[in-house]
Symmetry: C2
Subunit: 174 residues, 2 copies
């Protein structure tokens, strides 16, 4: 499937409501448990998505579209949210993610990006030259990957409870 800006925004704009529909009001047994040591809970994933809004996707798009010659992205801190969100409630994080995502997509739509602009490039700290189009496609994949992760982490809480079904449910073995 070729990249399409409108179809990308169609996915990006619904992620906050999908995550909210999945997590809001659930007992903490579902939202605060992880799938192993050093792995993230659904709560942690929402914190990570917030970090992405604040420090990753649109900030990097701004660098690509900026006038400066230096198109190097800031390295992304994957663990920032663990410190920032200690003691917070999930509801706060869901609200914050929704608000930041809406603001970022307003900005993205307002840019009215042209084909030429989508082909502009920046320098990723790990994998070098990337286009704006690749960055925006990666943003979509990133959302969907973390949604799949939240569902998987929740599913694993019932690995033992599901008894013999466990062997047949591939989500429990990822």
């Amino acid at each position: 499937m070729d990249f399409d800006l409108k179809e990308s925004i169609a996915v990006l704009e619904r992620t906050p409501s999908v995550i909210r529909a999945l997590l809001e009001g659930l007992p903490e047994e579902w939202t605060r448990r992880n799938e192993g040591p050093e792995r993230w809970s659904p709560f942690d994933v929402v914190g990570h998505l917030i970090d992405g809004e604040e420090t990753d996707w649109m900030p990097r798009a701004r660098i690509i579209l900026g006038r400066g010659d230096d198109r190097r992205f800031e390295p992304y801190d994957r663990f920032r949210h663990l410190r920032l969100n200690e003691g917070k409630a999930l509801g706060e994080l869901l609200d914050r993610f929704e608000e930041l995502r809406a603001r970022n997509l307003r900005e993205l739509r307002g840019l009215k990006l042209t084909r030429d602009q989508l082909e502009r490039t920046g320098e990723h700290p790990e994998f070098g030259t990337v286009t704006l189009e690749q960055l925006l496609a990666a943003w979509v994949v990133h959302d969907l990957g973390h949604l799949a992760q939240v569902a998987r982490v929740m599913a694993k809480q019932y690995r033992d409870a599901a008894g013999p079904w466990e062997a047949y449910m591939s989500v429990l073995h990822r």
Copy 2:
């Protein structure tokens, strides 16, 4: 995490709205493409979830709780939906899933299951004796597994578009 009926229903009751938030109104590029030959699109997954409501989870719970001595489950037809839903619109399927799930959970709540009833057993055609509790836990895991699948199948549509990010996004390699 031990099985808990109330916490299980808390997940089961939200699945229709999560799937709707994720898929309703999206361009068909997102909802009708699959991740390879013989694999299911998001549309197909919703059809499969409908089959589960009609022929799998609660029908099997009824067999377990029934008075008869024969507690054997009917084999489940994993491909029934492909035939039944040809030509249908995704919106119809989302409505149907929501309606069936709500009806099944009304019935489940109405049973006011006791600890003893959760330990009653049925005979699964492939893996033999299973308890009602395991069946209900498997229903929850099944929902979450298919939610993860829908997100993964969508993500894979942008595998190429994401350029070098592809290598770093594990959802694209499952």
